[in-house]
Amino acid sequence: MNLLIRQVTIADPNSALNGKLVDVLVKDGKFAKIATKMSDADIPAGVEEKNGKGCYLSPGWFDMKVNFREPGYEQKETIVSGQQSAARGGFTGVLIMPSVKPAIQTRSDVEYVLNKSKSFPVEVFTAGSITVNREGKDLAEMFDMKQGGAVIFTDDKRAITNSGLMMRALQYAGNIGTKLIAYADDPAITGEPLANESTVTTTLGFKGSPSFAEAVMLERDVRLMEHTGQPLHVSGISTAEAIEVVRMAKKMGLPITAEAYAYHLLLDDSSLEGFDSNYKVKPPLRSISDRELLCEAIADGTIDVVVSDHSPEDIESKDVEFDYAAYGMIGLESTYSVVKKAMEGKMSPEFTAKLMAINPREILGLEIPSIAEGAVANFTIFNPDEKYIFGKSDIKSKSRNTPFIDSAFEGKVKMTYNKQVLYDNLV
């Protein structure tokens, strides 16, 4: 399909056209022409025209932490419903976590997921497990999984507490030319992470997980990076203490990258006051000052990416007593709006492209879509100033577990385009 987008501004620090207000012609899946003014002669017959007024065109966004629940929990999300959810949220690519049932821990698990994703234009990549059954005991066959297409390895939200095993996993990953994602948490300190340890959660009767537990494990991981000389991406940074460790490691010149979850930027532990299980997430919602420091760390580049941590859960898993409820919230559709709101003016269109499209692909070593004539068209169009109320109709996920329904936002995803398919949020 051929597509003409009128009067859109390019947001891409890697493009010569960055910041330019242009008309964009897409033909056969490629940028055919990008010009400040398109003459009628340039426009082929039967082209579908879109008005880009007030909007920005960025390289297609990438979410490097999603759970699509297939195989194992297809009633919560399938790979296809997850892809639809991603497209709605402005993402043309995602990284699936291996925490399905069974865990993604063999080459055939990797291939199953990748094959299932081929019918929809959101590109799906998968992480493989570092250890068998994500149990933190024995290394899984990472080399074979990598041959099958796994791009990175993680045990998802289970820290490998055995330091010797983590050291060997790093060495082995370096050996086969891949990278690990670590989860910063010391579960012996954290306990069941129902709530942050704070004044407000004390009044709610929660035992509370101390925030420094993240930094404790992260400091160990930094030592292991030094020793093995291997890069590491750390997930789930939610506390001031952990931000400091990342900052220090970067200052030491270590190849560390870090990610935060979108909901941690906007929500804090006072949300738990009504015991609404939609606010039950892992790591738990932290204090207001943690939240503010997290936004600063994103703005100054200490934290490299923000992810949705999209975690679909059915009603049966959520509409129960807080303790019994499953962790997590869906996030793909709301991530941009949530981050935009939390960052309060620190999300320029150019920075948005860097945070949402470029940095995650760089960390994963994936090709970054470029915006230039002749390049393959893979892009996201968003309007940073459009006000709207996030509603159920914005959700394409099979699940509805989000506290953001009926929330007011400024900043909306308008459409995505990839693999010759336009996904228009108005349709």
Binding site: G191, E197, S198, T199, T202, T203, L204, G205, F206, K207, G208, P210, G274, F275, E316, D319, V320, E321, F322, D323, Y324
Partner: protein, 308 residues
């Protein structure tokens, strides 16, 4: 009586105003007279059916509620989790809705998890009374404790109360702190550092790890039960060592510069939190607490029924 509570459910002391608490106390004064008469019963809740739903073991709280309900002439049904449909995997809402479908007006619930009463109140029509939800709140215990202090010392305002023991796992401690602070008392918590929540002092509560110092400071000592069943890991080496550091015996009590009041929410581990001679001494108001429990619960049920 024309006054009404500001709440429709008793989920926690947190939600009550000082006026609510005083109203409950004044109402409880009347009911305490009632239960000391030859005919211990009034017809106030004649048209009300109350379900006591206990998802966690309890003897005295359930008995106390049941007596309170019966003395108000309510119809009472009891339900406890063991051997019920809960063990077959039924959810809390389904269990309670099934009971409500049989036309129950009020639900008294005890549950092992914090927030369960709040959750229930959001989902059902009946008045909910929280009879303890995990480590969150146990409002009627706090009310009867404060009522007993008021009875013994004339008022709660300005009194110094120390709560001794496992503060971390105690809903009694948390509800007591809220209640006593609202009534103008000074509160201290005392226990091993591993069992004191890190942020408890933010609630305007003093923290003391030395029992003797705490007792010298206080007018009232509320000795909490050590609840080993609620501890998932070891917080102190042994009960023996706990009672060496935090157990109250007659010798300590007699050597204090002033006569303090000793309380315990029960059931007592005799020889652990307090020795038998302390429990049975004239300074102990443990059995008054039990008696007042019935009167206070009658007041709560009566006042909640007025909000219907």
């Amino acid at each position: 009586m024309s006054q009404q509570l500001s709440v429709q459910h008793l989920l926690g002391i947190k939600d009550l105003t000082k006026e609510d608490i005083e109203l409950i106390f004044n109402t409880a004064d009347n009911f305490k007279d009632v239960i000391n008469r030859p005919i211990k019963k009034v017809p106030s809740l004649r048209d009300i059916t109350v379900a006591n739903i206990f998802f966690e073991n309890s003897t005295r709280t359930r008995l106390s509620f049941e007596l309170a309900e019966k003395r108000l002439s309510a119809d009472v049904v009891n339900f406890s989790a063991s051997g019920s449909s809960v063990s077959k995997g039924e959810t809390l809402i389904d269990t309670v809705n099934n009971i409500l479908a049989m036309k129950v007006d009020m639900v008294v619930m005890r549950h092992p998890k914090p927030g369960a009463a709040v959750f229930l109140a959001k989902h059902i029509q009946a008045n909910v009374v929280n009879a303890g939800d995990g480590t969150h709140e146990h409002p009627t215990q706090a009310l009867l404790d404060a009522f007993s202090i008021r009875e013994k010392l004339g008022s709660v305002e300005g009194k110094k109360v120390v709560i001794v023991g496992d503060i971390l796992h105690s809903r009694v401690a948390l509800s007591n702190i809220f209640c006593l602070k609202k009534l103008g008392a000074e509160v201290m918590v005392c226990g091993p550092a591993t069992l004191i929540p890190r942020y408890i002092s933010e609630l305007d509560v003093k923290v003391e790890h030395n029992l003797l110092k705490a007792l010298e400071w206080c007018d009232v000592a509320n000795m909490l039960r050590i609840q080993l069943e609620r501890q998932d890991i070891k917080y102190f080496p042994s009960l023996r060592e706990y009672s060496m550091m935090y157990g109250l015996n007659k010798e300590i009590l007699d050597n204090l510069p002033k006569e303090i009041v000793v309380m315990h929410p029960g059931p007592i581990n005799r020889g652990v939190e307090i020795t038998s001679d302390v429990a049975d001494s004239k300074q102990s108001i443990i059995l008054d607490q039990v008696e007042n429990g019935v009167a206070v619960r009658m007041a709560v049920l009566y006042l909640l029924a007025q909000t219907r």
